[in-house]
Amino acid sequence: MRPNELSKEHLSFPSITRETLEKLTYQKYGDSPTIRSYTKWKLFEENSPLTLPTEAKAGEGRIRANVLFSGSESKFDLPEGVEVEEGTLGLSRPEESRILGFHFYALKRGYRLRITKDLLEPLVIVSHLSEKAFVSHHLSIEAENVNVPIIIYEISEKGAKSLVVELRLKNAEAEILTIGNHTSLSHYLLRATLGDGAKVRAFTIVKGGKMSHHREDYSLEGIKSELILRGMPIGIGSAVDYLTNVLQYGEESKSETKVNGYSHRKGWVVHRGVAKVFEKARGSSSEVSSHVIIMDEGSLGVSVPMLEVDTGEIETASHSSSVAQFDEDALFYLRSRGLTREEALSLFVHSIGEALSDHLERLKAKARSNIIELIKDLL
């Protein structure tokens, strides 16, 4: 089937009535102490599209973007080989949860990009809100037989912003750098399906706002599809609930998730990493490692790495997690070699940032400059 024919099915985005929305819950299993979500949903309830306006003026954008969502405005400045039309890929539905219900309820337009050529420059996507409103942005990306670097900037300064990115890759390689820098409420969902031979290297750094719910779902459906995911959620007097879900269906698929979070000045950092290997995914391997560092008193760190394996024919499946302070022995070592505590700490955080972004090729430098910018307040 040609992509053109596919798109007609989902030309408009799925909608939801207020009545249906009222019935939705945030989480199906909200009553289980082990799988309960840590997002402070109450804040979203108070700042929902039912209480706030769903339109906002555009703010001042300082970043040059190919796709710019600011307030209710959308602007496109696309390179050769990228086409845009209205619609979605249909990978997310409003009935899934109350927060997605809000997203679609407030959504005015959804856009869909098709990438048909290798991109030399990274595709820059910006989603921004600077007014007290609940605004939704929705972007779908399709890529086949190409190599694409994508940078997503997410900035929520006031009100509540919701961004959903849908991604479908086939025989394509993608590098995805996501930079979230929030002060108010934000909801983010990336939902990606990786077909045969698709490879994704992703790095996410999110500095939470009042409450940031940041979720990334990757579905490895194709044979030999691969995902390397690195994340750095940071809470400095703010809260971030970072969720990574990796579902493996494809034979010999591979996934590797590594998250290092920092919780500082009454910060709130939660990482929930799910890796599920389905019965079909024979000979696959899956790894999750989740570490949250609590930097001072009053800060909270939670790490929930979940592993579900449905096949005995597994190559490797493991996870590790820790919630701890900085390694005092290592700090002492550096200090005994003449570094001050601050210098030693800075060295640590920077080198963890560097290690986490090391798998990127074309976006490495961009990732590192953003790490330096966002971890400034940690030190």
Partner: protein, 475 residues
């Protein structure tokens, strides 16, 4: 069979269920069934001749049971028809039971088949045997009674030591936690009360053995262990049931209070038959410098939910939780452990080993919470899962929450298949596949077997061997 050890017979049998055979109907003095209501509770309380405060406790729990929602994440419970279950059964006992011989033959035989009387004689300090809803046998060796150790059926303790029981009963694991804890508190019957006085060390384990003798039966036994300052006790809990049609439901509770410097070891070897849905509520409160160790072996049952929990209340309190679960066949084990750190310098260790075979599902669900002020506390969690074939599954859901910057939580988990080269190695040395599988499994859990009394390890080993020989003929 002569007077010789029955251990040998158990070790030779095809399966533990086989030893117990099919359930035989037995004379019952009283049987309560029907909708769980005030009148049932009234009747139950009257039969037990309980004091008013306990009756009120049950009514309060019933109210909570009606109010609390059914947990959504629990699967398999929908198969249970609570209204169709016999909520209380009292086996007919002709006289006061002082000895095994005083028990009706069928009940005595059930326990004899499991070798319980012999184990009691050889290496236990005391034993309580519970058949359906009632404790039918409870004996403590004289020498220990003299030291002030108390071991009684729970009902008797309620009447004899109301002040002590009131102080702890339902305080460690309150009725309002969830629907099934409320149900338990409303209907509890049977179980053991153990009190170890200050500074007393009980050299041999105390055991409680539970048997569900008939189908469509609900067992709600309550065990309370109070270890006073500086005392030591090892409590072993065994569970078994013969084969029958229809389901039975087990919703038991264990409460442990370890006072300053006390040590409590609590071992459960659960081997219900495949018709039992097993829901367990276990929690310990651990005071300063005290230590509680849980060993939870889940082998039988259709579905098991059990998460022994330790609340480290005092400074320097410690706990270790060892969880072994085996799901062989289309059964589900949802097990794990919980530890909550409140005191300073507390430490907890969770080791979970699960084995899934022939379509079995194992779920590890754990919770570690370090609260503010639990300075310098450490928690380590490691869970390993072994999947023996393609149809089986293993899930891990750990939850680590830390509110204290000077504390650490470290967690590690691996899920692996049975490695072909290990099997091949053993095969090449003339060991059949079934034998090799049970050897590998035993090696996998050896770390946990180490702390158990020898006789138990032997039985446990046999159970595991049987589990695998069932699949492909005895090796």
């Amino acid at each position: 069979m002569s007077e010789r050890s029955r251990l040998e017979e158990i070790l030779k049998a095809g399966s533990l269920e086989e030893i117990l055979g099919t359930a035989v109907p037995y004379p019952k003095e009283i049987e309560l069934k029907g909708r769980i209501s005030r009148s049932i509770i009234e009747e139950l309380s009257k039969i037990k001749n309980e004091p008013e405060w306990m009756f009120r406790h049950r009514l309060k729990a019933l109210e909570l049971f009606e109010k609390l929602p059914m947990p959504k994440w629990v699967v398999g419970v929908e198969e249970l028809d609570l209204e169709n279950l016999v909520l209380y059964t009292k086996p007919e006992l002709e006289k006061e039971v002082k000895d095994w011989d005083d028990l009706p033959e069928n009940i005595r035989k059930t326990f004899e088949r499991l070798n319980i009387p012999e184990i009691e004689k050889k290496f236990l300090s005391g034993l309580t045997a519970v058949f359906d809803s009632e404790s039918v046998y409870s004996q403590l060796k004289d020498e220990f009674e003299k030291k002030g150790i108390v071991m009684l059926p729970m009902e008797e303790a309620v009447r004899k030591y109301p002040d002590v029981v009131k102080r702890y009963f339902g305080k460690i694991f309150p009725a309002g936690e969830h629907k099934f804890s409320a149900l338990h508190h409303a209907l509890w019957s049977g179980g053991a009360f153990v009190y170890i006085p200050k500074g007393v060390r009980v050299p041999f384990p105390i055991e409680a053995f539970f048997v569900i003798g008939s189908a469509l039966e609900g067992q709600f036994e309550h065990t309370l262990v109070v270890a006073d300052e500086g005392s030591y006790v090892h409590f072993i809990e065994g569970c078994s049931a013969p084969m029958y049609k229809g389901f039975s439901f087990h919703d038991g509770m264990v409460e442990i209070y370890a006072h300053k410097n006390a040590t409590v070891k609590f071992t459960t070897i659960q081997n219900w038959s495949r018709n039992v849905i097993n829901f367990n509520n276990k929690r310990a409160i651990i005071e300063e410098n005290a230590y509680v160790e849980w060993i939870e072996g889940s082998i039988g049952s259709k579905i098991t939910y059990t998460y022994p929990a330790s609340v480290l209340k005092g400074n320097n309190a410690r706990t270790a939780q060892y969880v072994v679960s085996l799901s062989n066949g289309p059964f589900l084990k949802d097990t794990g452990a919980k530890s909550v750190h409140v005191g300073k310098n507390t430490s907890s260790k969770i080791v979970s080993k699960s084995i899934s075979a022939n379509g079995g599902i194992n779920i590890y669900r754990g919770l570690v919470r370090i609260g503010k002020g639990a300075k310098n506390s450490t928690a380590t969690v490691s869970c390993d899962s072994l999947i023996l074939d393609e149809e089986s599954r293993a899930y891990t859901y750990p939850h680590n929450q830390n509110d204290e910057p000077t504390a650490n939580i470290i967690h590690e988990a691996t899920i692996g298949k049975l490695s072909e080269d290990k099997l091949f190695y053993l095969n090449a040395r003339g060991i059949s596949e079934e034998e090799a599988k049970s050897l590998i499994v035993l090696g996998f859990i050896s770390e946990i077997l180490e702390g158990l009394p020898f006789e138990y390890v032997e039985v446990l080993k046999k159970v595991i061997e049987l589990e695998f020989s069932e699949v492909g003929g005895v090796g």
